[in-house]
Structure formats: C-alpha cells, structure tokens
C-alpha cells in the first residue's frame, strides 16, 4: 500500500502515536457481539443522547458568552456547570469503556448522530 500520509506534522508523529493503543480495541469492539457488549451498546446509546444535549447546550452557552451581555457571575456559573458536566461525562465514558469516538452513534442508513 502506498503512503497515505499527504501532510505530516513538523518533526514527528508523536502527538498521534497514542492513537495506536485504541486500534486493538476498535477492532475487537466492532466485531464482538456478546451479552456484555449489549449492555455497553445501551450505555452507548444513552451516553450519546446525553453527550449530544451537552454539546448543544454548551455551544449555546459559548455563543452567549462570546456575544457578551452576561455578568461575570453568570459566566462563572455557566462555566462551572459545564465543567462539571464534562467531568461527569468523562467518568461515565470510562465506566463503560467508551471513547469519544464511540459516542458518534451509527444509525445505519440514517447516518451518524453527531
């Protein structure tokens, strides 16, 4: 196979080296169909909805902050809320062994969610 890299970082590819660890996961995750992965499939579904809503809300909040018109206190409280949500989502993903990529739910012919 010819080289598929068309443009590479200055220096080396180290920043992307850690992606390799997830390859074995990606392959086994995608081709297993056992009872445990059913449970994970449901968790994946639920977490994707939550993640989608979180992103939508955070995007809205960022637009408001960027547009001005919020008090310092409001900005601080919004930020803390989303910081906490983000931390909680990361914990939940960890609990189920899911990555951020896993939450791009594939709906077959209806395409991807996020």
């Amino acid at each position: 196979m010819n080289d598929k890299v068309l443009a590479a970082p200055l220096g080396d590819l180290d920043p992307f080296a850690h992606d390799e660890r997830s390859l074995a996961d990606a392959l086994t995750r995608r081709i297993e169909a056992d009872p445990e992965s059913v449970e994970r499939g449901l968790a994946q579904l639920v977490l994707t909805i939550v993640e989608l809503l979180r992103q939508l809300m955070e995007r809205q909040a960022l637009r408001r902050v960027d547009g001005g018109g919020l008090s310092d206190d409001q900005v601080e409280r919004l930020g803390r809320t989303f910081m906490e949500l983000d931390r909680r989502m990361a914990e939940l993903r960890d609990e189920f062994g899911l990555t951020e990529e896993d939450l791009n739910l594939d709906l077959g012919p209806l395409g991807r969610l996020l």
């Binding site: 196979m1 598929k4 890299v5 068309l6 443009a7 590479a8 970082p9 200055l10 220096g11 590819l13 180290d14 920043p15 992307f16 390859l23 392959l27 995608r30 081709i31 955070e58 909040a61 960022l62 902050v65 960027d66 310092d72 900005v75 601080e76 409280r77 919004l78 930020g79 803390r80 809320t81 989303f82 910081m83 983000d86 990555t99 951020e100 990529e101 939450l103 791009n104 709906l107 077959g108 012919p109 209806l110 395409g111 991807r112 996020l114």
Partner: protein
Amino acid sequence: MIELIAITDDPAAPAPPLRAVRSGGLAVLCAPAEDAVVTPAALWRREALLESLMEDRDLLPVRYGTRVADERAAAAAVAGRGGELRARLERVRGAVELAVRARPRETEAAPPAARSGREYLAARLGRSRAAVALHEPLAALARASAIQPGDELLRAAYLVDRTAVAAFADRVGELQRAHPQLALVCTGPWPPYSFAEGAGA
C-alpha cells in the same frame, strides 16, 4: 455468502473475482465472502481493492463485513434506495476523501485544568476557535466536509475534487507552518466513506 464491496453507477464490469449485480441504474460490486479474521492486513487489502476500482469509476464503499446470502439478496438490499444512492454517487463524482486530524504538540505543556468556570469556558472557546481556524480554510477547498467526534482538536473528513488534492495537502502544510504549536496530519486519498451514507454536510 457474498460480500458487498461497493456501489457504482458505472456500467463497466469489474475484474474477477468481483461481480456486478445490477439493480436499477446501479451496480452492487460483490465478491465471494472469505472467512478472514479482521486484521489490519485484511483492511489494507480491501482498501487497495477499492482504490483500484476507483481508478475506473466513481463508487460508494460499503461497510466492511457486509454480507448477504446471494446475488438476489444483494439486488434486494439496494432496491428502494436507488434514488438516494444515485444522488450520493453524483455528489462524490470525481472526488475523493481526505482525513485531517489536529492535536496540540506534546512538547507544549498541557494546559492546567481549569480552576474556575470562566477559565473552563475560555479554554473551550479557545479550542473551538483554533479548530475553526483550521477547518474553514480547508472546507473552502472541499466540496463537502464532515466534522467527526474524537478527542482531537479537529477530526474531519473532506470531500475534495481529485484535481484539488495536491492544493488541499499544500494548504494543510501551510496551516501546519502557521500553527507550529499544533500537530496536523492529513491522510488520503480515500474512497468517500464518510459521504456514502446519512446526512453529511
């Protein structure tokens, strides 16, 4: 069992062992299913096959591992989706997919965790703006784009005219030089996987 490889509207027959199953104005390119374990080598073999097919035709790659009982089932599988598939083929006509990922360079000290809500939002805004600064000039060179989730700063697929691939790669190089604190990588050309299904932009 046969494995579905790609969908095309080109009438030319593929080289054996592939066969074309006709349905409406479309052809589903099929191969005998192998009992191969999924390995990187198997994936590269499929990629090489798709690329050689793409030398002569536009196509939509089918998800790896898609199998049906026989050719009749293959034709039935795309029946009723002809309009949608033909529209997608038209959209990818003469184009390939390029993948771009960007991360902060590891030599940069990782930013400390935000200690206040304001800091958190400021960091999010910063990341978002950095991603936009990379995405917009690339999207300007593409027919379509799809931003994908992941923990990278930017992870996206771009549908680019075959004739514009070199210019796109050059633009990635320019953006890399303009942002030495980031690491950008662009791979391709790929068959239009990310634009074959669903509601990509």
